[in-house]
Amino acid sequence: MSVRPEVLGLILASMAVTIVPRVLPLLGAHRMRMPGPVAAWLSYVPVAVISALFFNEILLAGGHLPRQPDDPHLLAGVLTLAIAFLSRSIAITVIVGVLLFAGLQAVVAGT
C-alpha cells in the first residue's frame, strides 16, 4: 500500500486544475446575473454532455467506428439504451448492461 511521491504530486496537480472550474462559479453565485437565453442554453448542457459521452463510448470504443455490425460495444450499447428506457433505473441499467456486454463479447469472441 505505497504512495509514490511523484504520483501524489500528479494527483494534487490534477485536483488543482479540476477544483477551480468546479468551485469558481458557485463562489460567485450570489453576484451572478443570468439572462434568460443563457439560462436556457445552460439547461441543455447535461443532456448534451451525457449523450455525447454515451455515443462516443459505444461507437468509438476501439478508437474508430465499428467495422462489424456485431461489435459488442455497439450492440450492447443499443440494448442498454432500451434497458435504460424500460427500467428507468441507473443501477439496473448498469448491472444488466455490464452483464450483457460481457455475454456479447464472449459470444463474438467465440464465433
Binding site: 500500500m1 504512495v3 504520483v7 500528479l10 494527483i11 496537480a13 490534477s14 485536483m15 486544475v17 479540476t18 477544483i19 472550474p21 468546479r22 468551485v23 469558481l24 462559479p25 458557485l26 463562489l27 453565485a29 451572478m32 443570468m34 434568460g36 439560462a39 436556457a40 442554453w41 445552460l42 439547461s43 448542457v45 447535461p46 443532456v47 448534451a48 454532455v49 451525457i50 449523450s51 455525447a52 459521452l53 454515451f54 455515443f55 462516443n56 463510448e57 459505444i58 461507437l59 468509438l60 474508430h64 467506428l65 450492447a76 450499447g77 442498454t80 435504460a84 428506457f85 427500467s87 428507468r88 433505473s89 441507473i90 448498469v94 444488466v96 448492461g97 450483457l100 456486454f101 455475454g103
Partner: protein
Amino acid sequence: MTETRRRRGDLLRGSRAAIPVALGYAGIGFAAGVVGARAGLSPAEVVLLSLILFAGSAQFVFADLYTGSPVTLVTTIFLVNLRHLLYATAFAPRVRGLGALQRFGIGAQLTDETFSLASSLLPGPLQSGTWMIALNMTAYLSWATGNLAGAVAGGAVAAVDGPGLDFALAAMFAALLMMQVTGAPGGRRTVAVVVAMIAATVMVALQAWRAGPLNLLAATAVAATAGVLLSPSAPEAMEAGA
C-alpha cells in the same frame, strides 16, 4: 431543536436521493479501480486519486497518462474537467442563498451525475446545503469504496480478464440519457432528443476525425445552442432558479 430535526431530515433525504448514483458509482468506481491497478497504480494511490480528484473520466485519463509527460497529464485533466465550469455555472442559481463554505463544498464534489440528479430533483434554490452535501457525500463515499475494491481485485486477478467492467461507464450514461430525455418537461422533450442527437453526432464526428479533450465541449456548445434556437418560447423560469 426544530433546526436540528430539519437538518437530520435533509441529511436522510439527500443520502436516499443519491442511492441510484451510489449504486452506479460502486460499479463504475470498481471499473476505475481495476483500470487504475492495471495501469500500475497501487490501491493506496487509487484511493487517494478518487478521494482527492473525485472525477470519473479524469481518473481513467490519469491511469492512462500518468507515466508520460506531467504537462500533458495536467493539461488533459484540466480540459477534460472544464465541463464542470458549465455545470457549476448552471447550478449557481440554486446555491445563491448558501454560505461560501457550503458553496465551495458543493462545487468541489460536482460530477456529471450529481449535477444531473440534483438539477432534476430540485424544484428551486436550496434552502440549506445539507441535502446536497448528503447527496454528494453518499456518491463520493460509494465511488471511493468502489475504487478501493476495484484496485484490490484488479491487482489480485490481473491474469484474468474482467470482461464487461469497462462497459459500466457506458451503461451509466445510457441510464442518465434516458433520465434527461424522459425527465424534460413536456414541450421540451422533443428538443432534448434533438439536442442529444446533435451532441452525439458532433462528438462522434469530431472524435473519429481527431480525438481530443475539447471535442466534448465543442459538441455540447453546438447542441445547447441548437436547443436554445429550437426551444418553445416559454421563459425558462425554473432553470433560471427564479
